[in-house]
Subunit: 170 residues, 2 copies
DNA sequence: CTTGGAATGTCAACAAGACTGACTTAACCT
DNA sequence: AGGTTAAGTCAGTCTTGTTGACATTCCAAG
């Protein structure tokens, strides 16, 4: 903390003296926090013998109904074969519906069924509950800092997708 | 559900109105940021045909030299079989040294060899570089908020380990 | 109209990294 | 001496990712 106080303004920009130890703490915080982040949904998924990949697919289909397989692939950052395996089980289990596109019939538009929406809700309720607790414990200024650092940590392409998702939902 | 999500004023505490959309943004930010967080080390690891599991082992052995297998297991949150596979390759490749404990000869104390320390340095340099950029872009207040939210997101046991590691390094 | 490329899907094979369960060895402790 | 603990190992399974090859369908440029 003493190091953080050593920031001197140089040429209008704020200068930060970041020790390796401070950065290391951030790295470990990310590691442990991500475990907490996924812990609650993981417990629910285990009951259905689904995995995180299924959760991610449900999450982003829910957030962008009618999305195509290609779009989902690039958001999730996995190959079509990997995504396809997950989608096949979700479609087979009646959680996701795949409809042929009207303008481009090669495309498949993915939406959640009522059953799929139910599971998605259970998963995201659990995840949001932890998030809400964390936000409340940390306070509103902490939350905006949290988001700023996370955004700055993303690759430009991820940041683009992250922003696009927010704008798509208004 | 929407009304239930609203925070009620409770004796003098800060009031936060957290919409599902705000929490969802945080969830997606964690998802995309974690990808960025692991991207740089992953590229280096691929050259050595190691994986994230090796990185995590190297990281925590470096941070707590002489740690035992049991301790490492509980920090990483994996089974001994899973950890053992990783340690076996690291020891076999001469990156990690395993020494029988002096007081308790059942224990094996793990340390990095010079070669292991080199790889750990390369990996953490890459990861720290991104972290440093993110911290500078976001600014010092953002950083403290970032850490507060992450800590609040951890399970109590993880938080305990996280704090113990920091204190162990002073 | 034909052909090339794009989007999707499928099949197969493989690897990393996690898991459980059973078992051994050695060392420790009561 | 007997029970517990630490570590290591073997075997088998699961999820989730990867490549590569190939079929189908469709759109669009020539």
């Amino acid at each position: 903390m003493a190091d953080a106080d050593r920031n001197a303004p140089i040429g209008g920009e704020t200068l930060l003296f970041l020790t390796d130890e401070q950065l290391r703490q951030g790295i470990e915080a990310m590691f442990f926090a991500y475990r907490g982040f996924t812990a609650d949904p993981d417990r629910i998924l285990a009951e259905y013998s689904y995995g995180r990949a299924h959760h991610r697919a449900l999450h982003f289909i829910n957030g962008a109904p009618g999305t195509t397989v290609n779009n989902l692939m690039s958001i999730l950052g996995v190959t079509k074969q990997s995504l396809n395996r997950v989608l096949r089980t979700l479609i087979g289990d009646g959680l996701v519906e795949s409809r042929v596109g009207r303008s481009d019939k090669r495309e498949r538009h993915l939406t959640l069924t009522e059953k799929g929406a139910e599971l998605e809700r259970a998963l995201s309720d659990a995840q949001r509950a932890r998030m809400r607790r964390a936000y409340r414990d940390a306070g509103p200024e902490a939350v905006s800092g949290f988001k700023r650092v996370l955004e700055a940590m993303m690759d430009p392409e991820m940041k683009r997708q992250y922003s696009a998702l927010r704008e798509g939902r208004g």
